[in-house]
C-alpha cells in the first residue's frame, strides 16, 4: 500500500513505542523472537549468556511498536516489552511505510 500524502486524520492516530526487556540468562537461543519480529528490531548478540547461547540484542530500540509478539512467542519467558510512549504520526513515518 502506498500513501502519497499524510492522511487527513493523522492527528487522531499515534504509534506506540515499546521498550524491550531481555532476561539474557533465561534465553535458550531458539531464535523465534528474532525471526518473527515484524519490525526486525532484534538480532543475535555476539556474546554468550550463562548457558552458552546467544541471546537476542535490540538493534533499533526506537522501532519497537509494542506489539508483544516476542513476549507471546518466547518459550522461556525471557523477553517482554513495556509501552514507553506514543509517537505522533509524521510524514516520514508514512513515507517509510510506503517504502516497505
Amino acid at each position: 500500500m502506498k500513501f502519497w500524502r499524510l492522511p487527513l486524520d493523522a492527528g487522531s492516530h499515534s504509534i506506540p513505542i515499546g521498550e524491550l526487556h531481555i532476561i539474557k540468562d533465561r534465553c535458550k537461543g531458539c531464535g523465534f523472537c528474532i525471526e518473527f519480529c515484524p519490525n526486525q528490531v532484534l538480532k543475535e548478540a555476539p556474546e554468550f549468556n550463562k548457558k552458552g547461547y546467544h541471546p537476542p540484542l535490540v538493534t533499533k530500540q526506537g522501532e519497537c511498536v509494542n506489539c508483544n509478539l516476542c513476549e507471546i512467542i518466547c518459550p522461556e519467558f525471557a523477553i517482554y516489552s513495556v509501552l514507553k510512549e506514543y509517537k505522533e504520526l509524521t510524514a516520514e513515518d508514512i513515507a517509510g511505510y510506503s517504502k516497505k
Partner: protein, 299 residues
C-alpha cells in the same frame, strides 16, 4: 584397587532460596509461574513453552483469577505444564487427565478446568476417555499439544505420526495411518474444535480465551515443533525451521470441514476454528433429566 567415593555435599538450601528469589519476578508473567521452576526442562526450540505462554496470556486477557482456574495434565513433556503453573494444578497418571478433570469439573462447576496434555497421552492411552468425555459434553477445556511423536521417551511413533514419517521406532518410515484429531473430536461431540500452530500465537491466545466462556467440551489442537524427536529424523531441522515451515505451509480456513484437515508429512496444515455449536452439557442434562424429578417429589 582403591575406590574413591565422592564426598557427600549437603544440599545448599540457602543458596537455592537466594537463587530462586533472584530469578523469580524478572518477567511480568512470573506471577503465574511457580518460583524456582523456570528455566523449564523443554529443549531449545520446543513449542511447549509457547503454548504455556499463550495460556498465561489468555488468562491475563480474560481476567480469570488464579484461584478459579485449574489445570490438569497427564504424562509426557506436555504433562510438565502442571508443575510450572502457580495455581491448582494436577499431574495425573498416564492418559487419565480427562477422568480426573471430569470429576473435578462435576464436583466444582464454578472452576474453569483446563486439560493440558499431549497427543500420546490424550489419544493413545487416554483415547477412550477423550471420546466419552466429548460424547457426554463435560465442561472441560482441552488443549492438546500435538508434536507427532512421544517426545519424552525418545521420539517413538505415536497415533498422530503421519504416514512415512521417521521416528526412532519406525526407522524406515511409519506405515500406519494417523489420527485426524479435529475430526475425531468433532465426531465424538466436542462443541468447539480448533487447530492452530505455535506460529499462530496471537490466534491461539484468542482461541483459548474464547473457550473459557463456552460451556461444554472444547478442543484445541496445537501443532508444536519437536526438533529432537520429529524435526531431526524427518530432516525438517531445528525448532525455528519447523516454525518457518508452519508459517509457509499453514492455510487459515475457519469453518473448514474437519474431514479434510488431515496432516501429511511435510504437507499443508489447515488451521483455524473448525466448528462451534451448542449442546446441553452433562451437568445440565443430569440436572434436567434426573435431579429435577426428585426435587419435584420432595416438594
Amino acid at each position: 584397587m582403591k575406590i574413591r567415593y565422592q564426598p557427600i555435599v549437603p544440599f545448599d538450601q540457602e543458596g537455592f532460596n537466594r537463587l530462586k528469589d533472584e530469578q523469580h519476578g524478572l518477567h511480568p508473567d512470573d506471577q503465574y509461574l511457580k518460583p524456582g521452576r523456570i528455566p523449564h526442562i523443554w529443549c531449545p526450540g520446543c513449542g511447549l513453552g509457547v503454548v504455556l505462554n499463550t495460556y498465561i496470556n489468555a488468562l491475563k486477557m480474560t481476567g480469570i483469577p488464579i484461584d478459579r482456574s485449574v489445570v490438569v495434565s497427564g504424562i509426557g513433556c506436555t504433562g510438565r505444564v502442571a508443575g510450572y503453573l502457580n495455581m491448582d494444578t494436577y499431574h495425573t497418571t498416564h492418559g487419565r487427565a480427562i477422568p480426573f478433570a471430569t470429576g473435578l469439573s462435576l464436583t466444582r462447576p464454578d472452576l474453569s478446568v483446563t486439560v493440558f496434555s499431549g497427543d500420546g497421552d490424550l489419544f493413545a492411552i487416554g483415547g477412550n476417555h477423550f471420546i466419552h468425555a466429548a460424547r457426554r459434553n463435560v465442561n472441560l477445556k482441552v488443549i492438546c499439544v500435538n508434536n507427532f511423536n512421544y517426545g519424552m521417551t525418545g521420539g517413538q511413533v505415536a497415533p498422530t505420526t503421519p504416514v512415512s514419517a521417521r521416528t526412532t521406532t519406525t526407522p524406515y518410515g511409519n506405515s500406519e495411518a494417523s489420527f485426524n484429531l479435529p475430526y475425531l473430536a468433532h465426531a465424538s461431540g466436542a462443541v468447539y474444535v480448533a487447530r492452530w500452530t505455535t506460529f499462530h500465537a496471537r490466534q491461539l491466545v484468542n482461541a483459548i480465551a474464547e473457550t473459557f466462556s463456552i460451556d461444554g467440551f472444547t478442543f484445541i489442537e496445537v501443532i508444536a515443533p519437536c526438533p529432537v524427536g520429529y524435526g531431526r529424523p524427518n530432516k525438517i531441522g531445528s525448532g525455528l525451521d519447523e516454525m518457518i515451515y508452519y508459517k509457509e505451509n499453514s492455510i487459515v480456513q475457519n469453518g473448514a470441514d474437519p474431514r479434510n484437515v488431515d496432516i501429511a508429512l511435510k504437507g499443508k496444515i489447515v488451521v483455524g476454528k473448525f466448528s462451534e455449536e451448542k449442546r446441553p452439557t452433562f451437568l445440565g442434562e443430569y440436572e434436567e433429566k434426573i435431579l429435577k424429578k426428585f426435587r419435584r417429589t420432595e416438594t
